[in-house]
């Protein structure tokens, strides 16, 4: 049995070495209108997109989005990028999303992944989880948030912009 565990671990680490370019899956997500859109429809411009997976009950997620909101205006002058705050709130807390977003005056587009279809398709286990993408290609992923890290994320964007 122990062998199996070791084997699984080795396999997992082997795969982490395996860095193919991956795409954002074209999963339908709900909008604030109650209608559906797909990731391909949303991520259709030649821009950088930041996809931030969050939930209304996740304190670090809200800290990250609040912080990103603070620097958004300033940075969007320098760099062309758009932020999607993708809520993973299920039916327990989903109704809190729209009022919260308005109460916080966030400038992001918000999409709802109520039963975690996109979260599951992207294999996200912990929140917050942030993805940088361009032309549907996943360039960078990041789990967790430490204060000030929004600046690190934006530095990453600049790096990719130069490339």
């Amino acid at each position: 049995m122990f062998k199996k565990l070791v084997f699984t671990l080795i396999l997992a680490f082997y795969i982490t070495e395996f860095n193919a370019q991956k795409l954002v899956p074209n999963i339908p997500l709900e909008t604030f209108k109650g209608t559906y859109t797909t990731m391909n429809k949303e991520l259709n411009e030649d821009n950088f997109y930041i996809l931030s997976f969050w939930a209304t009950w996740c304190v670090p997620c809200i800290n990250e989005l609040d912080a990103l909101n603070e620097v958004y205006d300033e940075l969007s002058k320098e760099l062309k990028f758009k932020v999607y705050a993708i809520s993973t709130d299920d039916s327990r807390t989903k109704r809190r999303v729209r009022p919260l977003v308005n109460g916080k005056s966030w400038k992001f587009d918000v999409l709802l992944d109520e039963n975690h279809d996109l979260k599951r398709a992207l294999n996200i286990s912990g929140l917050p989880h942030t993805i940088i993408t361009k032309q549907n290609q996943i360039l960078h992923r990041r789990v967790g948030y430490a204060p000030g890290e929004e600046l690190g994320l934006l530095d990453k964007l600049k790096e990719y912009d130069i490339e």
Partner: protein
């Protein structure tokens, strides 16, 4: 085929893929492992033992049309404390083949699905709680312009086996009206779910097939929204002490109303819900299973979901079911409401300060259904809008304020009533007040620190608690923390203290954590679902990676 062979085969596929990869075809997946060495546990089975749960998920995307998904789980040498006993060794947990075109989707294998708000059906995975109630069957869905339709059927996953009962149903949604120029629309939804469970030896006064229906209407506009959902479940035997009653037979129903008001800087949301006998399982006798095995629908507690150690003591769990414990404790469901308000006090105002201030308020109240309950004849007659015994109420206020560029804090105040007798079917009622100060300081470079103190005031149950925590982020990737909660007036249990120390390292999409300490036992709640966890002391580790 043994599992090792399956895994070997997958590795082989990976190599092939490496040789012939095309831009549209790729492997991706995730690995998660959580382990604990139990130095000391309330549960004797775990004392001085190691246990771990591991999940390996692999997906293969072919031409952006097909997705093959396989999840293997390992519980070695045994499952973590308080996960289902059926979870053992290594096994293939889920497998699916998914075919997608622009408007059409077909899935064979493991199905994750939700109808409406989940009152009839929600299948999902929550590893922290050990829930995976996915269906094993077929689904097809069609989605175009103003219409979406899902049809599915299958058995339900029950740890490493499948349920006896069969489940089938459909969900549909029609956009009746949509004003493209302004934000205004009206959407209708209809769902059906049937559960067919093989007959038992006795002939019961209800059908093997239990039908459930729901209808919903949604209105959304720029600054106002409203929706209503009604669900009905046909009559079925009430489960008492793990057996289906031949005499206590009832139908179930649910009402859910939600209204919201939105303005820039302000958001208000009001929810009312009434649940009567709405628990629904693909195997009747699994009713009330502590591991949520074969549960079909999702009826979470509609209260504020908390994220601090002391606010997570005495958390409400929804009460959708019939329970006749004794003539003074009879329940048939719940009725109540919740109100949320969010307000942003603008920057550069007197109260708002330089950076603005964010306020959120939550009020909730949940009661038993009012009516005439007859213990001896196992019957009741309920009022539609009557509030019976109070289960729970809470008022909470949260203020988030950034004071300077490097200092911000959160102040949270909670006033809570918890009826332990009615909610947990134990003894007592608890009135408590909780206050939390959570302070974040940004230091030089990537360094930052967070310090929190919290206090729970109560004269009831286990009396007062005090807690504090400190977290230090050395850089964006590496952090260490220590936290401790002390039940300092609980002389009966000798003032128990629960302290934990840990480090975490995260890089890109991977996170590693190690911690040591003592965990409080009792109800652990996550996502509105709660479970009892025995107290333990030990060394824990966790690895999460997505690739």
């Amino acid at each position: 085929m043994t599992l090792n062979r399956v895994v070997l085969f997958l590795v082989f596929l990976l190599f092939i893929y490496k040789g012939f990869s095309q831009s549209n075809n790729f492997f991706y997946g995730s690995f998660e492992s959580n382990g604990v060495y139990y130095e000391d546990s309330e549960s004797t089975d775990y004392n001085k033992k190691f246990a771990s749960n591991s999940y390996l998920n692999l997906k293969y995307n072919l031409n952006n049309k097909w997705v093959f998904d396989l999840q293997t789980e390992s519980y070695i040498p045994k499952q973590l404390q308080n996960y289902s006993d059926l979870l053992e060794d290594t096994f293939i947990s889920t497998f699916s083949i998914d075919f997608n075109t622009t408007n059409f989707n077909f899935t064979l294998g493991t199905l994750y699905e939700q109808f409406g708000s989940g009152i009839l059906l929600r299948t999902w995975e929550d590893r922290q709680l050990g829930i995976n109630n996915s269906l094993w069957g077929i689904r097809s869905s069609y989605n175009k312009d103003n219409l979406s339709f899902v049809l599915l059927g299958g058995y339900q996953k029950k740890a490493n086996t499948i349920s006896e009962g069969k489940v089938f149903g459909f969900d549909s949604e029609f956009v009746v009206y949509d004003d493209k120029n302004s934000f205004r629309n009206l959407i209708l939804g209809l769902s059906y779910l049937g559960r067919l469970e093989a007959p038992h030896y006795v002939s019961y006064p209800f059908e093997d097939l239990t039908n459930s229906f729901s209808g919903r209407i949604d209105y959304n506009s720029n600054n106002f929204y409203m929706n209503y959902e009604y669900a009905y479940k046909t009559k079925d035997g009430v489960v008492k002490f793990n057996s289906v009653s031949e005499t206590f037979v009832k139908n179930g129903n649910a009402h859910l109303i939600n209204i919201g008001l939105i303005k820039d800087g302000l958001g208000l949301d009001f929810t009312f819900r009434r649940l009567e006998n709405m628990g629904f399982y693909s195997e009747r006798v699994e009713f009330g299973s502590p591991y949520f095995e074969t549960t079909l629908n999702y009826l979470p507690a509609l209260t504020k979901q908390h994220d601090y150690l002391l606010t997570n003591i005495n958390v409400y769990q929804s009460q959708p079911n019939i329970s006749f414990q004794d003539p003074s404790l009879m329940k048939a469901g719940e009725i109540g409401f919740q109100l949320d308000a969010y307000y942003n006090i603008k920057k550069e105002t007197f109260i708002g300060g330089k950076y603005g201030t964010k306020i959120s308020l939550n009020i909730s109240k949940w009661n038993n259904l009012k009516g005439n309950y007859d213990y001896d004849n196992e019957d009741y007659d309920l009022d539609l809008l009557g509030f019976g015994e109070k289960y729970f109420s809470e008022q909470s206020l949260e203020i988030r304020k950034k004071w300077t560029n490097s200092f911000s804090n959160i102040i949270l105040f909670v006033n809570r009533y918890y009826n332990k007798r009615f909610v947990e079917e134990k003894v007592g009622e608890i009135n408590s007040k909780i206050i939390v100060f959570d302070n974040t300081f940004k230091l030089s470079g990537e360094k930052s620190t967070r310090f929190e103190i919290q206090h729970l005031f109560t004269e009831d149950d286990k009396k007062n608690w005090f807690g504090y925590g400190i977290e230090y982020n050395f850089n964006y990737n590496f952090s260490a923390y220590f936290n401790s909660i002390i039940n300092y007036e609980n002389e009966i249990e000798n003032n128990p203290t629960y302290s934990n120390i840990g480090v975490s390292y995260s890089k890109n999409a991977s996170k590693f954590m190690v911690s040591y300490g003592k965990q409080r036992g009792g109800l652990m709640c996550y996502g509105g679902v709660c479970r009892y966890v025995p107290e333990f002391k030990g060394l824990s580790f966790s690895i999460i990676t997505s690739f």
